[in-house]
């Protein structure tokens, strides 16, 4: 039976966490995502026994996640930009120790304290690695409240498939807005014990150790090679994107998250004017759909990358296109959300030469 609800994005995400059979959430309040912890505080423990702990800081949160994820359970945290910055050391540790877990960044306008309005200014941090060393998060960018829910389940699946932290990179608007969401059924809490987990060493296995320390460089390089091999594997299997009217498009817009939907609206406005514009929405930001974009680049006259930042994903788009066609950028910053009209205007100005 379909269970439909009108929910805020943050609430849908929290509800999905409960339904995913998540074992524990550790987090610290920050706008615009405090509803996650608030919702869980009210609902989670009574329904599934899920552990909810408000930590003393984001640094503590991420390290609690590290400890708890080491037991092989389904663990998550969420925060927004400044809080996520504080987690960078911990994230690097988690990635290196190959612990599955879910991190949520409800991106707000930066840098610094900034605003609490939506932004995509944390793309680089999420995708290239804000922490030290070579590591990758699997990064998923929802664009609907439905996806705010669905991607939680997906994230835990991917996290445990690859023993890798997964980040849901969303923004304040998606967190605060309400849409219909079809909830998935309550999943069982996890019962199996991961073979690598620190749960107490039985007599019949070697002790499990969770660490990211390998003082000998060649050993540390081995660890890195193993990680890199895994990332190549993820790139092979887990690229996700959504195409809207890309088949016979003259121009292509690339955008992720909520902005992609605004771009679809812009493309509709363009269609009204007789201009064929397709929209490619990367859903997985890592792994990034380089090939798909490269392929589409061969078919269009130009590409406009639209983001709520000063131009970050556009670098990946350019790397994908590798000079085939012009790639232009349009962005708004500091919490300002672009309108469909201004996107179309920029597409026309920068690429279509006033064609539409």
């Amino acid at each position: 039976m379909k269970e439909l609800r009108l929910m805020k994005g943050n609430e849908a995400l929290a509800e999905a966490a409960i339904r995913s059979g998540c074992d524990a959430y550790f987090g610290y309040p920050i706008t615009p995502q405090s509803e996650v912890l608030e919702y869980l505080s009210k609902e989670a423990n009574v329904r599934t026994g899920m552990v909810i702990l408000q930590a003393e800081s984001e640094v503590a949160s991420i390290n609690m996640v590290y400890g708890a994820a080491g037991t092989g359970k389904r663990i998550m945290t969420s925060s927004s930009s400044p809080g996520i910055s504080l987690m960078q050391e911990g994230i690097s540790y988690i990635a290196c120790a190959e612990l599955p877990c879910l991190l949520v960044n409800v991106n707000r306008g930066g840098p610094g304290l900034g605003t609490i309005q939506p932004s995509q200014g944390d793309y680089f941090q999420s995708v290239k690695g804000g922490g030290h060393g070579d590591y990758k998060l699997i990064v998923l960018a929802p664009s609907t409240v439905q996806e705010m829910s669905d991607f939680v389940k997906l994230s835990f699946e991917l996290a445990f498939k690859y023993n890798n932290p997964v980040m849901i990179l969303t923004d304040g608007a998606l967190g605060q807005m309400m849409e219909k969401v079809e909830l998935f059924e309550q999943q069982e809490r996890k019962t199996n014990i991961e073979p690598w987990a620190t749960v107490g060493k039985p007599k019949d296995r070697e002790r499990n150790i969770i660490t990211s320390l390998h003082i000998q460089p060649d050993k540390m390089e081995e660890i890195n090679l193993k990680l890199q091999a895994k990332y190549r594997e993820i790139e092979k299997n887990e690229i996700r994107f959504e195409e809207t009217n890309c088949e016979d498009a003259e121009y292509l817009i690339v955008a992720y998250g909520l902005v992609a939907r605004i771009c679809v609206k812009a493309a509709q406005l363009a269609a009204d004017k007789g201009l064929k514009v397709g929209v490619l929405r990367p859903i997985s930001l890592f792994p990034f759909p380089y090939e798909k974009i490269n392929e589409l680049a061969g078919k269009v006259n130009g590409i406009l990358d639209v983001e709520m930042n000063a131009g970050q994903m556009v670098e990946d788009v350019r790397l994908a296109v590798n000079g085939k066609v012009p790639v232009e950028f349009y962005g708004r910053m500091g919490g300002v959300v672009p309108t469909p009209e201004e996107i179309l205007e920029n597409l026309e100005k920068k690429l279509a030469g006033g064609k539409a």
Partner: protein, 184 residues
């Protein structure tokens, strides 16, 4: 059907609930809905708005800058959103509170004396339902009984004794907008 609305006023005037009621009601009718609030930090005296879209088909952008309907509950909102109505669109404002009404000539404009009427109904809180009624009369995108269902979702249980009053206000709004002619 695809109706794109912005509802704007002071925090506390019930702006956000109006949008939510529309969404819940729309859901009951299996419509697509989206509700996008402006949100700010804990600060008093600010203005609030929400973009509400009710549609028969999938909603692309929940954030738009042009609207089919603007419902404005205070002066700053009138000033800010007058330009945001699509030509031919609808603009409804609370004439009790608004001194300088919109002046555009390519849209339909209705001033509803909603706050005064709410006071007359002995509950200033129902002002928003009067405005909602007025809107729904002009654009009957959702059936009234479903609006009441939507209201039930938004109104906390402990206020459900006020449902009849709210329904009355909704109907009053419908009547009031009938009684006046648009200024354009």
């Amino acid at each position: 059907m695809n109706e794109e609305i912005i509802i704007a006023g002071f925090g506390g005037q019930g702006v956000l609930s109006m949008g939510m009621i529309l969404c819940y009601a729309g859901m009951i009718e299996n419509k697509e809905v989206s509700w996008m609030p402006s949100y700010g930090p804990e600060m008093r005296g600010g203005t609030a708005n929400c973009i509400t879209i009710v549609s028969d088909s999938k909603i692309s952008s929940p954030i738009i800058s042009k609207f089919d309907t603007v419902i404005a509950l205070n002066q700053p909102s009138v000033d800010k959103f007058e330009k945001a109505v699509n030509p031919g669109g609808l603009f409804i404002y609370d004439s009790t509170n608004i001194i300088n009404p919109p002046t555009r000539e390519d849209i339909e404009i209705f001033g509803i004396d909603a706050s005064n009427e709410a006071a007359r109904m002995d509950n200033t809180k129902v002002m928003n339902m009067i405005m909602l009624g007025a809107f729904l009369k002009k654009k009957p995108i959702i059936e009234t009984h479903n609006i009441i269902e939507g209201l039930k979702k938004v109104l906390p249980e402990r206020y459900h004794h006020l449902l009849p009053l709210n329904e009355k206000a909704l109907n009053r709004g419908m009547e009031m907008i009938e009684e006046i002619t648009a200024t354009v």
